[in-house]
Symmetry: C2
Subunit: 240 residues, 2 copies
Amino acid sequence: MGKAAALKVAGGKSASAKRRPRATPARPALSVRERILEVAERMFAEHGMSGVGLRAITTEANVNLASIAYHFGSKDGLLEELFAQRAAPIAQERLRLLAECKAASAKPKLEDILDAFLRPALTLGVQPQFGGPAFVKLRARLATEPAATTRKILSKAFDHSSRKFIDAIAEVLPQLQRADVEWRFYFVLGAMFYTMADSGRIQALTNGRIDPGDVKRALHHMIPFLVAGFRSPPVASLHP
Amino acid sequence: MGKAAALKVAGGKSASAKRRPRATPARPALSVRERILEVAERMFAEHGMSGVGLRAITTEANVNLASIAYHFGSKDGLLEELFAQRAAPIAQERLRLLAECKAASAKPKLEDILDAFLRPALTLGVQPQFGGPAFVKLRARLATEPAATTRKILSKAFDHSSRKFIDAIAEVLPQLQRADVEWRFYFVLGAMFYTMADSGRIQALTNGRIDPGDVKRALHHMIPFLVAGFRSPPVASLHP
DNA sequence: GTCTATAGAGCGATAGAC
DNA sequence: GTCTATCGCTCTATAGAC
């Protein structure tokens, strides 16, 4: 369990060992490492961390069972690596868009701030050809896990940027107390994660009319809803 | 390590072998069945369905491994039983409160409708002395699981009452198209489940100032937020 | 109804040949 | 770097004694 997490992080023979993608840029002949990451992402998302074994992953990825230990040290190491690779771009893009908001106006619009927060989370995983959308779902799954290890991974990946967003929202809504902003931000997270989880509940309730997997439409409805919530009058504080 | 942890703790020989509860009504000497349900609820909530084995449950409950098969048939049977027992009262209480709203006024207030929906989910599990709060968390965990079996269980337990609430909300917000109501109801579910999951994220982000486990305060903030979201202008429909 | 014992498979991790 | 083989353990489910 506690063993070394990273034995050898950057595989890659030498820098330029095979450079012949030709006319098929879609399948660049994934390395063992990449194949494992891609399959693990999809399977962790679908079945949860404890719902899928290393055997299932390696079989599906057509690699040897031992290669996970070799490349990632352990199952937890694999998850950490996966997160390290996927989460950073999301947090970065969020902060980049937030900076753009602030550059455009001294007092940015709340909808733009929320868009900057939500869009990268819901769309950034989707562009890679395969395995991408799975990360969205995986995050949502981990978001409801009480396990301390996953909490730490999430904290490390997203705390910094999320705090910046709370600050930014508090700045454009000076009439709200900090606690009000924080509670309301919490509801943003709830709507976001539930959309990301794509649990099938709302399809069941609406005979398939609502599809949270339709990201464009989801944001289109979500942002005005949340903005209105944020703009509602401050809630009188409840004495304990 | 592997040896039997519990050889014989709760015998229970014949039906009335020891009837002296005296001044401790809190522990009514649970049956094997009840002990299993109580422990399983807590452990499923904490570690997820696939994160906890029958051995862990039976050891913790001080019952024999085989007794789960005897009483519930299988692990899934145990989950179903657990849900059958806990979910029905929640759905019932929701509908009772909704009926109360409608009885009080021809056009009930939206906040009362949302309160009727949210309060039973967040509070009803809490009153039993032990194991109660765990069901709240368990529901939240299952809500993000893609497994077909858990989806079916959730559907069976909650679809009917949830549809009634969508109808009721649509009735008091006639300016909204059905799809708008449905999307917004979806965000209600998100905020609710995330609060129920008590994932620790918001504590991490706010240095512990916000505690979603404080149900009274959670509803106090959640309902005005959601009401404002629902009351925001209809969203222009997006053509596909 | 409660127990022991076990089947039969899968688990994560690792040693060591190549 | 990739493989086979395996260790030691856990998994769910069941057969059958009491």
